[in-house]
Amino acid sequence: MQTIHASQVRPPFYRDERVLGVFSQVLVVVIVLGLGLFFFSNMISGLREKHAVAITFSFLGQTAGFDIGESLIEYSRERTYLRAFVVGLLNTFQVAVLGIVFATALGILIGVMRLSTNFLVNRIAAVYIDIFRNIPLLVLLIFWAQGVFLKLPRVADAIVLADSFYLSNRGVAIPWGIPTESWRTYLIVLGAGVIIGAALAYFLREHGKRTGRMPLVTLWFIITVAAVGLIGWIVLPQPLTLDIPSLEGFNTQGGIILSQQFLALLSGLIIYTAAFIAEVVRAGIQSVSKGQREAATALGLTPAQTLRLIIFPQALRVIIPPLTSQYLNLTKNSSLAIAIGYPDLFAVAGNTILNQTGREIEMFTMIMGTYLSLSLLTSILMNVYNRRIRLVER
């Protein structure tokens, strides 16, 4: 007699999960591809009416013909569109890097304040976080640009701080170093200092592993580099001369001028992002269980050692992933520069170049491609880092 096992009975094909799975996938792919093809053919026929060639990047070699307010590299209106694009990209980088550094510092400060046992300090941090997390960044940026920096006095009546900082509605002039002939030699000396410091740090770490007494490696590294830098500064004949701005008629002379658009964008981004970073830091530190702290105390570690060796390494594991996404947010948010007239990537490429050339597809491809590769690169790097600190875990 033959028994029929349940697994041997095949359901009808319209209820077979494998058939259904394949079928639904084919359906979705066909729909998506069909829609894509529909949009694409519309786009190409539309572009054919507008331009001679539907899609081309050759216009990037043409003369741009517009000025850009500020640039890290040499640029004039005779240069090409591609050069203008790069100028915008570098401006975005500048704001993003500076913003990340300062927002992290401010965010850590406020996050630690939020955990303080001092009632007032704790409340101030909480209020800061609650205020700035609930206000749109764009409103904050425009308020900062039009309500604060634009309200500063004219250049002739500029507010002067310490005889060297000039605050006016055109921006802030600050002292800046001008390299002399010995600057290149000094850079080499500094590089040597970093190498010596790294060697010392390596030696100290190995020594610490052997003896079980780990010295403050990072601190020693910094001290070494600073010492070499200081000696080089004294020995070499003035690698930098300090250029202090001064008022000449209706303008400031000397130093460098940080434009009000740049400052408004940077400070807005810092203040806004710091509130989010503070929450990330607080959550990270709180995620380390109380038992860890108690165990460290029981082992006789000092509070400073507990923080450095026990709490921080563990908190960092929780902090890094959300911190990365905050950094990415800051970079993407810097595209709001268009609202306050700072020439970042999006303002230059998505507005000026696009309006002049009418090449929507090409410009948007370039802009989105740039932002996309930036964020993919960051997440890849962060995944690698994450895996590294996770291996240390257990």
Partner: protein, 406 residues
């Protein structure tokens, strides 16, 4: 649990004179040691500087005249004044629906309900409101009270479902009222969405952005977790692409490029709708990632148990997986909705007059030159009130659902 117990044991050690007195509290929390005292002094100095400057600005320097003069503009943009009654009707109905669904869902006239009823009365205290506005606010409060009490007398069986239908019906009625029907000369002439503006538009964009992006986001999250490779890959590409680009580029694309994608002669949708589409598509990707977090937090046992009970994939997703996954991510989701609400300000950059766009037009008026601080401060406060209430409500909801306790 542990922290509460510790606080109690700390307290029991204190001498009785310091246990409950103000001075005892101050000594414990502000001046426990030298460092703490220094911190307190620094914080006091900081507070004094900030507060004195802020108060001087708010009560001496600032010229608040710009706000009452443009109040209607801030609230409803260029929505025609003759049709303003339709907006008030929308608000009355909102009051009634909120009151009614409160009765259905909670049943009690609790502290929070009193707070809600109190809102119109608090708003009446705003000094420059006209008598008509105040009357309208009273009617709103009355409508919500009526909604609450009348619902109590109705024999309703499936309360949750009724509340959902009620909200759905409200949505339809609201859209009809706002949009208008019939001829230009009729009782309710159509008002094009581009004329909707100010706070009205900001709230509408946020509301529809949330309700439309949520299902899309859940679908994308499920797609990303799916066993079917084609669906999974497409979800991943969509999510990562959207999350990698700034919203502003999507908004510009919606305004500049949408017409390129559509065939010639296709009726071009309204500017506002195009912005809404961009916001929805953008937010869905973020919602998807948040929901995925919830899906991943559910143990395999739940899937296997659902399978063993003979539930189909669809049934186990709807009845077993999603309810648990969504409950686990309520705080993150609300955070995402708040950021969507804040992001609606970006439409001001593509020529739509939401709260921020209206602020910019007011400031372009020569009568109100130089009032940037006042106008933007008010805009910021308005956004803050709504965002903060959302985050407060989410914290309450989280407590009620007992996340992390069950």
């Amino acid at each position: 649990m542990t922290s509460a117990a510790d606080a109690n044991s700390d307290r029991s050690v204190l001498p009785i004179t310091e246990r409950y007195t103000l001075i005892g509290w101050v000594r414990r929390n502000l001046f426990s040691d030298t460092l703490n005292s220094l911190l307190t002094l620094a914080a006091l100095a900081f507070l004094f500087i900030v507060a004195s400057n802020l108060l001087r600005w708010a009560f001496v320097t600032a010229e608040w005249g710009v706000i009452p003069a443009n109040f209607n503009l801030i609230m409803r943009g260029q929505y025609p004044a003759t049709e303003a009654w339709r907006l008030w009707l929308v608000i009355y109905l909102l009051g009634a629906v909120v009151g009614s669904s409160w009765r259905l869902l909670s049943g009690k006239f609790s502290g929070a309900a009193r707070l809600l009823i109190a809102i119109p009365f608090v708003l009446m205290l705003i000094p420059f409101f006209s008598m008509a506005t105040r009357l309208n606010l009273v009617i709103t409060a009355a409508a919500s009270a009526a909604g609450f009490f009348i619902t109590g007398y109705l024999p309703i069986q499936r309360r949750g479902r009724t509340a959902a239908y009620l909200l759905l019906a409200y949505l339809v009625v609201m859209l009809i009222l706002l949009q208008g029907v019939g001829a230009e000369e009729g009782p309710m002439p159509p008002v094009a969405p581009i004329l909707w503006g100010g706070l009205l538009l900001s709230l509408l964009l946020a509301f529809f952005g949330i309700t439309l992006s949520f299902p899309l986001g859940v679908a994308l999250a499920l797609g990303r977790q799916s066993k079917l490779p084609a669906i999974r890959v497409m979800s991943v590409i969509y999510i990562e692409f959207i999350r990698g680009v700034p919203l502003i580029s999507l908004l510009f694309m919606g305004q500049v490029m949408l017409q390129l994608f559509l065939p010639d002669g296709f009726p071009l949708v309204d500017r506002v709708l195009r912005a809404l589409v961009a916001i929805t598509l953008f937010s869905a990707a973020y919602t998807a990632e948040n929901v995925r977090g919830g899906l991943q937090s559910i143990s395999r046992g739940q899937y296997e148990a659902a399978n063993a009970l003979g539930l189909s994939t669809y049934q186990s997703t709807i009845h077993i997986i999603l309810p648990q996954a969504l409950r686990a991510v309520i705080p993150v989701l609300v955070g995402q909705f708040i950021s969507l609400f804040k992001d609606t300000t970006l439409v001001a950059l593509v020529g739509i007059f939401d709260l921020l766009g209206i602020a910019r037009t007011i400031l372009a008026n020569p009568d109100w030159l130089g009032t940037q601080q006042e106008v933007y401060a008010i805009i910021a406060v308005l956004f803050w009130i709504f965002s903060y209430s959302m985050s407060y409500a989410s914290r309450r909801l989280e407590q009620r659902l007992g996340v992390g306790q069950r």
